[in-house]
């Protein structure tokens, strides 16, 4: 695309002519410049280049969708202007009316005027349409895995490949029946979340206080019908219905971290350790591409917290429109956490950000339910309590990714130590000062 050889030499001659005291000096400096130009170029691994390329393409795709939406709005404005200008002319008026009618019909259908089971038309729910339009993979997952648990309100999805998104997005025929599919064919996520269960209630027991049909109308993906049901004054999160708390009797004592050595070799801690928690954040301007409540949006907010959402991970998103604003409850199960690992739950308020962190306990270490967690950045603050041992005098770590797991910590109670399994964040990082290897740092995730 660009080639500069001729210009390069001229500019260099000019610069050296201006500053060098003698032709010999100019000749020497030119040779150095020539050596500089011939230096071998640093090359990245092809996997990094292709990964970044794929990631950029994904971002570009969501940004492009955003532009398309804006253009559609602009198109409507243009029609209005046109109509105003040519309204005195009957021929134009008729033509414009026809165009407007066609466009209106197209827009209604492309935005998902939902047919009800009775054959009538239900009012369009903007949340439903936005989510389903941008989450064809969710629909895909729902179609592949018929529900084994009817009545589970959240629409969960196993994250799949992106390729299918393109074809399905461009297929308007896939749009109209999304609402029913979401409700009827939600994938079987037995673990997520026990929204229907009151604290202490057994699964399968009757739940007279929570009429299932009403919940479904109001809840997932903001499917409430305008005018039929008033907005709730405040959000009601599924996690709150089975919220528990725990207080440790003792104090957690963090184990030393050994880098490139084993505990028996350790003599004195490393003198100087620098560590930073730098999750790969998505810049604010990129976030506009993903509609609130969509899978891409959830991936972005999780990514900003350091959770790297990958293919095969499970995301469940519940949206609520209330008089206080729009809220989302995001359940995330990373493959890295393992099937038996703790599941993360986030409460999010539109315009405000994440307002709560929780995890779902299955009964492995405490009673089943949801327990509050620290944010990864707050949990990372405890890294200062860790003693580092390494063969080097100085260590620099850069941690960029995190996942929720269980880890055995030492708890000290009345001068007695015991091992206690606790929910923990595993921070994945790399030693940067010596271009070193990967390192896993486990820190307690509970407050």
């Amino acid at each position: 695309m660009r080639q500069y050889d001729s210009e390069r030499d001229e500019a260099l001659d000019e610069a050296l002519h201006d500053f060098c005291s003698s032709p010999q000096e100019a000749r020497e400096l030119k040779k150095i410049a020539s050596m500089f130009s011939d230096l071998p170029r640093a090359q990245s691994s092809s996997s990094f280049q292709s990964k970044l390329r794929a990631s950029l393409l994904e971002k570009a795709q969501s940004a492009s969708n955003n532009i398309d939406r804006k253009e559609k709005t602009g198109f409507f404005a243009a029609i209005c202007k046109f109509q105003k200008k040519y309204i005195p002319r009957p021929l134009f008026t008729v033509s414009a009316a026809v165009v407007v009618a066609v466009v209106a019909l197209t827009m209604f259908y492309s935005y998902g005027l939902v047919k009800t089971g009775a054959g009538g038309c239900a009012p369009w729910s903007p949340f439903t349409a936005m989510i389903e339009k941008n989450e064809p993979e969710k629909r895909d997952a729902a179609e592949k895995e018929p529900s084994s648990a009817p009545g589970k309100t959240p629409a969960g999805q196993v994250l799949g490949k992106q390729e299918k998104t393109e074809t399905e997005k461009s297929d308007p025929s896939a749009e109209p029946s999304v609402s029913n599919e979401t409700e009827e064919n939600a994938p079987p996520l037995e673990d997520f979340p026990p929204e229907e269960l009151e604290p202490g209630e057994e699964e399968g027991a009757e739940r007279p206080n929570l009429p299932e049909q009403d919940e479904q109308k109001i809840y997932p993906a903001g499917q409430q019908e305008e005018g039929d049901a008033p907005l709730r004054p405040a959000p009601v999160f599924a996690t709150e219905k089975n919220m528990r708390s725990v207080k440790l009797a003792g104090k957690i004592k963090l184990s030393p971290a050994y880098y490139n050595m084993v505990a028996t070799q350790a003599e004195a801690p490393v003198e100087k350790v620098n560590y930073a928690w730098k999750p790969r954040k998505i810049v604010a301007s990129m976030m506009t591409g993903a509609p609130f409540g969509s899978s891409s949006w959830a991936q972005e907010i999780l990514s900003n917290e350091g959770f790297s959402v990958r293919e095969g991970d499970i995301l469940v998103i519940n949206l609520q429109e209330t008089r206080k604003g729009n809220f989302a409850e995001v359940f995330y199960n990373s493959q890295k956490s393992g099937e038996a690992g703790p599941k993360l739950a986030l409460h999010y308020e539109e315009g405000k950000g994440i307002i709560g962190y929780f995890y779902q306990e299955q009964g492995d270490i405490w009673q089943p339910g949801f327990y509050p967690l620290l944010s990864p950045s707050k949990a990372f603050a405890r890294a200062r309590e860790v003693e580092w041992y390494a063969p080097a005098a100085r260590l620099d770590f850069s941690f960029q990714e995190v996942f929720l797991t269980y880890h055995d910590f030492i708890v000290v109670e009345n001068a007695r130590q015991k091992t206690q399994r606790l929910p923990a964040y595993c921070f994945l990082g790399r030693e940067t000062f010596h271009n070193g290897g990967e390192f896993k740092l486990y820190l307690p995730a509970i407050p």
Partner: protein
């Protein structure tokens, strides 16, 4: 020959449709990677900063405008990359060179030109570059490795063309001096 028109067209397309950003990425990735690696000398950091540079470029490509002389897409992109490097250096303490035990000794010869060139291997040169001031490193890398024009470098470094020529001259002179066996204190 400079195919600026072609680049303009690609940038214009990318501004209209971000999916058309990929040709720019494919073309500039090796250059940006090389530039950042030469500045930070660490693969992991380089990957982070390169990714951040391209994310920012993609997010802000609509803000890029062809504004007069020296303001090219390459200049704009390297400005983002350079800002990433500067931010990185602000966060971390200076990295000391010379600890690895490498040493350069000027050979015995009467001809100063030969003296420099005999002593300086590519590896030596790579190490000595790290001892230049950040601006000298930027100017030399952008000029002789990435092939930017003087006016483009001036836009990246926010200086005038005369200042860039002076930086190049002082940088080369400093390299020569250090390759002859001068001081090696790191300047990053």
């Amino acid at each position: 020959m400079l195919l600026e028109e072609k680049e303009r067209e690609i940038v214009y397309n990318a501004q209209k449709d971000p999916r058309s950003f990929t040709p720019l990425y494919d073309h500039y990735f090796p250059k940006v990677y090389n530039y950042i690696y030469r500045r930070v000398q660490n693969v992991q950091l380089t990957e982070d900063l390169v990714a951040e540079t391209f994310y920012k470029a993609l997010a802000n490509i609509n803000k890029f405008k062809w504004r007069g002389q020296g303001y090219s897409f390459a200049g704009w992109l390297f400005t983002i990359a350079r800002n990433q490097v500067i931010d990185q250096f602000r966060k971390q303490e200076p990295q000391l060179l010379g600890e690895s035990g490498w040493d350069l000794v000027a050979p015995e010869t009467d001809n100063p030109e030969d003296r420099v060139l005999q002593a300086a291997t590519r590896e030596d040169l790579l190490k000595v570059i790290q001892t230049l001031t950040p601006n000298q490193q930027d100017a030399l890398l952008l000029r002789f490795q990435e092939g930017l024009k003087i006016k483009e470098i001036a836009a990246v470094l926010d200086k005038n063309e005369g200042a860039i020529k002076a930086l190049l001259f002082r940088g080369l002179k400093s390299l020569r001096k250090k390759l002859e066996g001068g001081d090696y204190d790191a300047a990053v």
